[in-house]
Symmetry: C2
Subunit: 205 residues, 2 copies
DNA sequence: GTCTATAGAAAGATAGAC
DNA sequence: GTCTATCTTTCTATAGAC
């Protein structure tokens, strides 16, 4: 963040000497790098570099790459929980978010990207299936309620994930009528999943 | 495949000396390894090992890791095209496939896994966005037709991808009533996308 | 608390023997 | 056509100086 310190005093006082700040800086850089590159391609040197410190400190504060990843993982599963979801507007709000550019909500996007990469990396995937169950699928299932809640939660999660993946692949945001149609379709799918009986009509907005 | 040759004649005639067979064996092993581990984690030595040959032959036949990957990529985009999709039963058939275990259709699963890993690897992702547009999204858009075909194609692709990701994360197949509910929901979503007007009712099967 | 220096492993590329 | 041997790079991990 603020590497002016490094330039001004190169050797004598190597850094600000604040353990908590250093730790936090490393963790932030790690979350960003793991989200961007995945566990296997992320490099401790670069993470340390982004945080403005030396690699050795990563070991000092976290013990190693895997431990650092686990810490970043826990932080990225932070509760954007189902608590505050509103049954009436959820579908439309979420669809609007998914139709937009990833840059609109960089923090959320980074967290999702982190989890997607973690889930698709052969090294870290085993760590996730349980966490996904507990902290993603179970809350959705509970929030949805009703009959066949498990199946509906899975479809729900699949659509959500798929839209996010699709958004990552297409870089730019949709616009105009296509955007409106996209939102309407996705909102309709979510609405039908929230409404318990499968005969429920798709609502357009 | 047949490494008895190696055991019987260890040095004198190292292998069967069949260029085409060797090339094909390497390519098959590469497709499997890239699908399983992704570009970054896949190791040429192991690919060669699976094919029953030495690493040096990979260079000889393909030139290097990246060239080998590109070849495997082209092969994995093989046309399971929209040509033979049946408008009436497509939704239900696809949903049934998606509800099953990945082991039911290992070849298709491997191709998808290859593409998913390729799309999420920072190294290979840039190679894909164009190919995805041309050989995945465009055919779907064309097959769907009607109004807002692009938006519908994107939602279609998102649901498809999401279901496949979800299936990869949950290892085991669904069963019983949950399975039926899952199929009904997913089939309904596809049916609504195939039917042009967004006011279309979700059909259960 | 922070950095320098180095060890050790792994993997891609390449040259040359058979 | 196929394999052995080696070079070079890259990254994690660790020990030790300031």
């Amino acid at each position: 963040m603020n590497d002016i310190d490094l330039i001004v005093r190169p050797q004598t006082a190597p850094r600000k000497r604040d353990a908590d700040a250093t730790r936090a800086a490393i963790l932030d850089a790690a979350k960003a790098q793991f989200a961007l590159l995945g566990y296997d391609c992320a490099v401790l040197r670069d993470i340390a570099g982004d945080a403005g410190v030396d690699v050795a400190l990563v070991k000092r504060y976290f013990g190693g790459k895997e431990a650092l990843f686990l810490e970043a993982l826990k932080a990225s599963f932070g509760t954007d929980g189902t608590k505050e979801w509103d049954r009436a507007n959820f579908g439309h709000d979420t669809a609007t978010m998914l139709a937009g550019s990833p840059h609109r909500n960089p923090d959320r996007t980074q967290r999702f990207q982190f989890l997607l990469r973690a889930a698709t990396s052969p090294t870290t995937a085993p760590l996730l299936s349980q966490l996904v169950q507990e902290r993603f699928l179970a809350p959705i299932r509970h929030w949805l309620g009703g009959t066949a809640a498990d199946a509906r939660a899975r479809v729900f999660a699949a659509v959500y994930i798929g839209c996010l993946v699709e958004r990552l692949v297409r870089g730019d945001a949709l616009g105009g009528a296509e955007r409106q149609a996209y939102i309407a379709r996705v909102a309709g799918i979510f609405a039908a999943l929230v409404a318990d009986p499968p005969e429920a009509k798709e609502t357009t907005a």
